[in-house]
Symmetry: C2
Subunit: 325 residues, 2 copies
């Protein structure tokens, strides 16, 4: 009974692999609300085909409008597209003005598009981790592209970018944005840089600054980082952007980097998963111990120190690992 | 020899406890660049006296200007103040315009102020964790207040807020900000809410919205969340803000929540530290294993799945814990 609930039924699996929207939605929900990884283990063999594009940038840069127009361009070429919005301000997540939301619904109704927004709270496990799982479900469901929109400001977002083959960073020509983005490590994860709202003042200056910043990296990376200008609301510059994504994909294939990077990402993912397992174990086994509560009392009174306690507990956990060898 | 390097010398400890700025700086650097916790264990018994105030909010809300004026008010009352800037756009971190930076230097030169900015990269261990360690150093150095400025957008920042006794969330009357802040979970960590740039359009509306949002929480929490208006650049509303911080502190004391919350935070900290230890162990012992590289190859080819591998490795690590009982 329990097994039936948790594991994905054969019939559902077939439907999922064929891209049945209802089953996709159910599967993502199941994955989101369950720490059991049975479903993910079942679908994993069917993944690895979708191309993952990350769209990130500061709030108000016009990320979702860009996701929208990119998706439409890719649809024209008969692709199946999954969209994940992790940005809480995205209209895909219901975070923007009504006008935006209506515009997005239009895309959601298309046959070959599946849109999902990830809640930042209330799901078991971390947001970044759950987003990666959701991307895996979309990958298994036969999507050609998975677009992931994140608000480019925090660690969670940098983590999610890790799962993407091509990461597009969107900036707008507003004072301080470029500096901020650089400091936030955003540009370090960029494969393609887009200056959106390209009709605004300061756009050309920002592009020049960015070109200057990327000149050195171009030489080191073997990839010429495109710095593009778009006006997403007027559909301007989108053709160039989509073709830059294609070029980056071709570059990754030709250089063998696609395989290397994906392997590196799988390695990181395994480490994350191990950490999650251990964290869950710690929460279960240790946080409820009365023993620790007495210790905390002593720590509060400065008779014990948290570093020593942590070190001792960690040693206890790690011991068998060493022994196992 | 090794022991001498890592542990804090008796002479230095005395100077640190007396608030010697040079020693504070050195100690924070040592803590930042070393995974060894010897220093922190040594100073821990001398901590627990400083009151921690978190100042957070979206980019451009004027957080550092507010930190600046709050610090000046507290200085007038003969307090010793430590400031930590985690916000990469903060002038304290060298991230803003020259004018700002000059204004801040003025504060840094004062005898009873110590300012430190935390780098988001290049330090061993997580940013949030290192910030907590730095706050501990400032606490030990005899600071009456530790002010921590963070850019309120990501998980790291929410983690840091955890260490603060009073968290002040700064908003500005600009469209969407309040909604965004709510979605980002910012308001959930707020004890005091400030609408800065209070001379701008939309300020009163934002305050009304916030009052509405907090009405219910007031009743539940037993604390009346103040929603204040400031114009930090003109020093307006600062007296009220500082007195609201005092009131919150008094409330925490009187209700016994200060002790409860600090204990809860120490508990969380111990868990974080355990996780860090285990993570460091995993990086050392597992990431370099050739065995795992062969596995990754199989995972890439979808012959193995990462969830199963992670689960097996985690089980191996956790085993002794269960045995130990």
């Amino acid at each position: 009974m329990k097994n039936e609930d948790i594991s994905i039924k054969m019939n559902s699996l077939k439907k999922l692999l064929k891209g049945d929207k209802r089953i996709i939605a159910q599967t993502i929900s199941a994955v989101e609300n369950d720490t059991n990884t049975k479903i993910l283990e079942t679908i994993f063999p069917y993944t690895g085909k979708a191309y993952h594009i990350g769209i990130t940038g500061p709030p108000g840069a016009g990320k979702s409008t860009l996701v929208n127009v990119i998706a439409k361009k890719l649809l024209e070429k008969n692709n199946k597209i999954g969209i994940i919005a992790v940005d809480p301000t995205s209209p895909f997540s219901g975070g923007a003005l009504l006008g935006d939301r209506v515009r997005m619904t239009d895309l959601a109704l298309q046959k070959n598009v599946f849109i999902r927004s990830m809640a930042s709270r209330g799901s078991l496990g971390g947001l970044a981790s759950k987003t990666k799982d959701a991307a895996l479900v979309l990958d298994a469901s036969g999507m050609d592209y998975v677009l992931i929109e994140t608000i480019g400001v925090g660690q969670v977002e940098l983590d999610i970018a890790q799962v993407c083959d091509t990461t597009v960073v969107i900036l707008v020509p507003e004072s301080g944005d470029s500096i901020q983005a650089m400091k936030a490590g955003l540009l370090e994860i960029a494969d393609i840089i887009v200056v959106n709202k390209g009709d605004r003042e300061g756009c050309d200056r920002l592009i020049m600054e960015l070109k200057f910043a990327f000149e050195l990296r171009d030489k080191q990376a073997g990839w010429h980082f495109p710095i593009l200008k778009t006006i997403a609301t007027e559909n301007k510059g989108i053709e160039e952007l989509v073709s830059a994504i294609d070029s980056h994909r071709a570059y990754l294939h030709k250089s063998g980097k696609l395989e290397d990077e994906r392997k590196g990402k799988l390695m990181l993912r395994i480490h994350e998963l191990i950490e999650e397992k251990i964290r869950a174990h710690l929460k279960e086994k240790i946080i409820k111990e009365d023993e620790l509560k007495i210790m905390i009392d002593k720590v509060y009174k400065r008779k014990l120190n948290p570093y020593r306690i942590a070190s001792n507990i960690a040693k206890g956990i790690i011991k068998s690992q060493t022994r196992r060898k």
